[in-house]
C-alpha cells in the first residue's frame, strides 16, 4: 500500500502546492490534502493554537487536525529562507515545533529545514532529506523533484496568464460579467486564495463588475526590476514581492484600485502594508484601501468596505471622464 503523505491546505501550500504534490506523488506516495478551510477547521484550529498566533497560523492548526489521522506522514517543512538574503515570516520556521507542542497524537512530521539564505547549494540535500521518508533511492528522489519543479513552473506560467487552478478556490477566470475595472488585491497568498478566511473577497469584487488581479500574476522579472528602486532593506521574501508590486503598479498605473488585505497581528504586514500604502499614495493616484481580517464571520464589515471602495472607483471614473470630455 502506498505511503500516505498529508499536506495541510494552508499557508505556503497556496504558493507551492504543484511542487509539493507532484514531488511526493512522483515518489509513489498518496498525497492527501486537507479540506478547504471551513468553520470546523477554523474552530478546531483556534482552539488548538496558541492565542497570540495570527489567524492563518491558527487555521493551519485546523488543517493539520483535519488530516492527521488519515496519513502516515505530515509534510510541514521548517521554512527559514526561500531566497538568498531574504527571510520568511519567523512563524514559518517555528511551525513544526508549534504544531508538535499544540496538537497531540500526530503522525511523524516531515520537517526538513528549508534554508537558502546563503545560497541554494544544498538544495539537493534538502530535497533528498524530504524524499527519504518515502523513497530510498536518491536518483528517484531527484528525478521526481525535477519533474515536480517543471510542474510548478507550468503552474506559475498559468497564474501569470490569469488562470488560477481551482484547487486554490479562487477561480479568477470565471467572470460572468463584463470586466470594466481592474482591481489589484495584494496580500500574502494564503490570505488571497483562502476564500473562507477572506470571506470570498475576490468574488465580492468580481460581483462589482471588476476584474481581479493578484501579485502572483506579475512576472518576477518585473517585480525584481522595480523593487530595485526601493530605498531600504527588504529582509523578507513577502516584502520583496509586495513592495515590488506596489512600485510596479504606481509606475504603470495599470489598475483602477488596490485593496491590501492583511490579518490582525501580522508582523510583516505592520511594516510592509504601511510601506506599500505610502509608496502608492505618494507615487500614484490609484485608490487604495487596507482591509484587515481576523476570525470574524459576520461579513457586514468587509461588504461595506468593498462596496464603498468600488463606488469610489466608479465615481472617480465619472469625474475623470467628464474632465476629458471637456478637454
Amino acid at each position: 500500500m502506498a505511503i500516505k503523505v498529508g499536506i495541510p491546505k494552508s499557508l505556503l501550500f497556496y504558493e507551492y502546492y504543484p511542487l509539493w504534490i507532484s514531488f511526493f506523488e512522483g515518489l509513489g506516495a498518496e498525497v492527501i490534502v486537507s479540506d478547504d478551510t471551513n468553520k470546523e477547521i477554523l474552530d478546531i484550529g483556534v482552539k488548538a493554537s496558541i492565542d497570540e498566533a495570527c489567524i492563518p497560523v491558527k487555521i493551519f492548526h485546523g488543517h493539520v487536525i483535519n488530516i492527521k489521522d488519515k496519513v502516515d506522514y505530515l509534510f510541514i517543512p521548517r521554512i527559514k529562507s526561500l531566497f538568498k538574503n531574504e527571510y520568511i515570516c519567523p512563524k514559518f520556521s517555528g511551525l513544526p515545533e508549534m504544531i508538535k507542542s499544540s496538537i497531540k497524537e500526530l503522525p511523524p512530521i516531515i520537517d526538513v529545514e528549508i534554508n537558502f539564505f546563503k545560497s541554494k547549494k544544498h538544495l539537493k540535500d534538502t530535497v533528498i532529506r524530504a524524499g527519504r521518508y518515502v523513497s530510498s533511492s536518491n536518483r528517484v528522489i531527484m528525478s521526481s523533484y525535477n519533474r515536480a519543479y517543471l510542474e510548478y513552473k507550468k503552474h506559475r506560467k498559468k497564474i501569470k496568464e490569469g488562470i488560477i487552478n481551482e484547487l486554490t478556490g479562487a477561480d479568477i477566470v470565471k467572470n460572468n460579467i463584463v470586466d470594466v475595472r481592474k482591481v489589484m488585491v495584494m496580500g500574502h497568498p494564503y490570505n488571497l486564495y483562502d476564500s473562507y478566511l477572506n470571506m470570498n473577497l475576490l468574488n465580492k469584487i468580481k460581483q462589482n463588475e471588476a476584474k481581479v488581479f493578484t501579485p502572483e500574476m506579475i512576472d518576477d522579472k518585473y517585480l525584481n526590476k522595480y523593487v530595485k528602486d526601493f530605498d531600504g532593506e527588504l529582509y523578507w521574501t513577502f516584502a520583496r514581492k509586495l513592495i515590488g508590486t506596489a512600485l510596479y503598479l504606481s509606475h504603470k498605473e495599470c489598475v483602477d484600485g488596490i485593496i491590501y488585505i492583511s490579518t490582525f497581528g501580522c508582523g510583516i504586514d505592520s511594516v510592509v502594508g504601511d510601506i506599500v500604502e505610502k509608496l502608492i499614495r505618494r507615487n500614484s493616484r490609484i485608490p487604495f484601501v487596507h482591509i484587515s481580517l481576523d476570525e470574524h464571520s459576520g461579513e457586514a464589515g468587509i461588504n461595506t468596505r468593498v462596496e464603498a471602495f468600488m463606488d469610489m472607483i466608479k465615481w472617480r471614473d465619472v469625474l475623470e471622464d467628464n474632465i476629458s470630455a471637456h478637454g
Binding site: S292, G301, E307, M312, L319
Partner: protein, 328 residues
C-alpha cells in the same frame, strides 16, 4: 397629497428614519436606539413616522443604509441598499457642497471620508476593532452614571488636562479608573477621554491623509460637543456639525433612492402599512457541510419572505414564494 421619500439607517446603536420632500428638504427625522433588536426598532420607527406623517402622503421611494441595511431592505422593500460610506458622502455633499473632509463616528464604526471636487476621493474605516466609537462612549457614560447627552457639555467644563490613554478602549478604561482613583475631577477625566478619542481617531484613520477644511463631523457621536472641541483643537480649524448630524446616513440613502426611482420609474417600497405587519426571524445551523452556516429565516406576517446567511446559496437563492421575494 404630499410626495415624500424615506431614508432608513439601521446602525448598531441607533436606527434612524428620515423623510424628505422632492426638493431634498428634510421634513422629519427620527432617532431611536436599536438596543440589539433591529427589527423591532425599525418597525417602531416606521410606525411612529407613519402616525407623524398622517394620511395625506405618498411615499415615492425608500433607501436603506447602515450595517442592518439588507435586513431593512428585506423588511420594507427598498429602491437602493447603500453602504454607509457612500451614503454619508452623498448626504454631506448635499448640505455643504464644497466639503473636503468628513469625520463620521457611529456606534461601531468610525470613518474618515476625503472628498475633492465633489467626489469621494479616499476613505478609511476602523479595522477589526470597534474601540473609540459611540458604543464605547455609551459604556463609559453608563459606568460613570452620566446621561450620554450630558457627556460633551461636562467635558467643556474641564479646567485642567488629564491625559487618558487612547490606543485601545480597554487601556482607556483602565487609565480612566486609575485617574479617577487618584482623585481627578470627573469633568477633567471626561475631557481627557474626548481628547483621547479624537487623538486616536486622527492617528488611526487620519494617518498620512490631508484633512483639508471644510471639515464636517457627523454620526451619532457628533452630538458630543466635547469631542467636537477636541477635534477643533487638534486640527486647528472650525468643525461643522450639520443640523441633522446624527441621521446623515439615512439622508444619503434617501437622496440615492430618489435618484434610483427617477431612473427606474417606480418604487419597490411595500408601503407605510408595512409597519403594521408582524416580522419574525428564526435561525438554524445548516448541517449540510462543515461550514455550518448560521441561516436566518425571515417571516413577514407568518409567511417566509427571505433566507440568508449561507455561503453556498442553497437557502438564499431558492425562490421562496410566488411573490418573488428574495434578499436584496
Amino acid at each position: 397629497m404630499k410626495e415624500i421619500y424615506l431614508g432608513v439607517d439601521v446602525g448598531s446603536v441607533s436606527t434612524n428614519v428620515i423623510v424628505m420632500d422632492s426638493d431634498n428638504n428634510v421634513i422629519d427625522t427620527l432617532y431611536i436606539r436599536t438596543k440589539g433588536k433591529p427589527i423591532e426598532a425599525l418597525k417602531m420607527g416606521l410606525g411612529q413616522m407613519k402616525s407623524r406623517l398622517g394620511e395625506n402622503v405618498k411615499v415615492l421611494g425608500l433607501g436603506t443604509t447602515g450595517s442592518g441595511r439588507h435586513l431593512a431592505a428585506t423588511m420594507l422593500g427598498a429602491d437602493i441598499v447603500k453602504n454607509e460610506i457612500t451614503a454619508h458622502g452623498v448626504a454631506a455633499l448635499n448640505i455643504v457642497p464644497n466639503v473636503n473632509t468628513i469625520i463620521e463616528i457611529g456606534g461601531q464604526d468610525s470613518k474618515i471620508i476625503l472628498l475633492r471636487d465633489g467626489i469621494i476621493y479616499d476613505f478609511a474605516m476602523n479595522t477589526v476593532c470597534a474601540a473609540g466609537t459611540g458604543s464605547f462612549l455609551d459604556r463609559q457614560a453608563e459606568r460613570l452614571g452620566i446621561p450620554i447627552q450630558e457627556f460633551g457639555s461636562l467635558a467643556l467644563k474641564s479646567k485642567s488636562t488629564v491625559r487618558i490613554a487612547g490606543r485601545c478602549a480597554v487601556f482607556a478604561e483602565s487609565d480612566m479608573i486609575h485617574k479617577q482613583q487618584l482623585g481627578h475631577n470627573q469633568e477633567d477625566i471626561i475631557n481627557g477621554l474626548c481628547e483621547a478619542m479624537a487623538r486616536n481617531y486622527l492617528n488611526n484613520l487620519g494617518k498620512g491623509k490631508e484633512l483639508k477644511p471644510p471639515v464636517i463631523f457627523q454620526g451619532g457621536v457628533a452630538a458630543n460637543i466635547g469631542i467636537k472641541k477636541a477635534f477643533e483643537e487638534l486640527l486647528g480649524c472650525e468643525i461643522i456639525v450639520p443640523k441633522y448630524a446624527s441621521v446623515m446616513g439615512a439622508i444619503g440613502a434617501c437622496i440615492l433612492a430618489k435618484e434610483e426611482v427617477k431612473k427606474r420609474g417606480k418604487t419597490k417600497f411595500l408601503g407605510l402599512n408595512i409597519a403594521d405587519s408582524s416580522f419574525n426571524v428564526q435561525s438554524f445551523e445548516c448541517d449540510s457541510c462543515p461550514n455550518m452556516c448560521e441561516v436566518v429565516k425571515f417571516y413577514r406576517d407568518e409567511n417566509l419572505a427571505a433566507r440568508w446567511g449561507d455561503k453556498c446559496g442553497k437557502w438564499s437563492n431558492v425562490q421562496i414564494s410566488q411573490n418573488d421575494e428574495k434578499l436584496a
